[in-house]
Symmetry: C2
Subunit: 201 residues, 2 copies
């Protein structure tokens, strides 16, 4: 089994979207597989006493400028969605259910959800929007809706968030984990790439 | 006159120290001169409702790990100082005075001050330490001490901080400014490098 890159993400993070478009190529170059790890970024913000980037004044203006600048650098389509951010609980729970039941569909749905929000300004905080995305991915809509309210799935998301925030000290997204070494931020993919090439330093 | 790279810094910022060791080479490759721009990072934190990295819990632990990891990657000596951070008002005022009176000595003093704190754990929050560093740089100690309490120098530091935080929206250090385009963070020097090579994108 190939070694892994853990990719901790929240569907409402622009930088996690940008990194999600690059991490699989990076992993493949190093014969690694990406393990997608959803968690609730809002819980991390609460634990740290921080908030979404756009809720800061100067840092918020810089970030919105930098999302688009970074996207252009990496040739990734990007439009800042409005409203932002989105509480993407339904999408996250559906993703967790898919990971357990149809891992390939899970990855298809992940990219479709990120692109819906950050390219097409479809509001992924709405259940109907998420179900439409699921349907476009060929996912059974009735099963998808059931997954969104499944108590075991809800509990699993709480567990994953506890693992991220409580156990690993994840405080932002994306956070990449390679062999216990954490890298935070879409702008750290090059450093992660070097880390894997050199086996650390 | 060569075009400039504005380098906004505070003597207590580890990432600004790391970037200060790399920015002159980067600038030279693009036929640019570095314009060193001191400001009070604490005022930016207050304006944004943020605080020093190490005052956050998980982000603080990650940052301390990452300061050293980034330093090793870039082959820059680094030891996390204790106590940290330092209110480096005296050093900053002396730097401003030197910039106006002996620009070459100012840059020598800047690097010496950063290295004293982040390599040799000399506490640059103490006036006596700063005066000792000044003396080691061949700067007249009596003149240096006078500069630290000069009302005009104090006013100039307030103006610079206002320009950074109030006018330009600087919220962290280092912040590099090229032709009005801002880059925040030591880990954005490669992006800045590309920006200069390509003339933006």
């Amino acid at each position: 089994m190939a070694a892994e890159i853990g990719f901790w993400f929240d569907f409402s993070s622009p930088y996690a979207y940008l990194a999600s478009e690059r991490i699989e190529d990076l992993a493949a170059r190093h014969d690694r597989t990406v393990v997608w790890r959803p968690f609730l970024l809002g819980i991390a913000f609460k634990a740290e006493g921080t908030k979404p980037l756009t809720h800061y004044d100067a840092k918020g203006r810089y970030s919105v400028h930098d999302f688009a600048r970074s996207a252009r650098l990496w040739n990734i389509p990007f439009e800042m969605p409005d409203p932002f951010p989105a509480a993407a609980l339904d999408a996250t729970r559906l993703f967790i259910w898919l990971q357990a039941n149809d891992p390939e569909a899970a990855v298809t749905f992940l990219h479709a959800t990120y692109r819906a929000y950050f390219r097409d300004n479809r509001f992924i905080g709405d259940r109907d929007v998420v179900l439409a995305i699921a349907s476009e991915c060929g996912i059974d809509v009735a099963a998808a809706e059931a997954a969104m309210t499944d108590a075991k799935i809800k509990a699993r998301l709480r567990e994953l968030t506890q693992e991220a925030v409580g156990d690993r000290g994840v405080f932002g997204a994306p956070t990449m984990d390679v062999d216990g070494e954490m890298f935070w931020g879409a702008d750290r993919l090059d450093m992660l790439d070097q880390w894997l090439s050199r086996g650390g330093w």
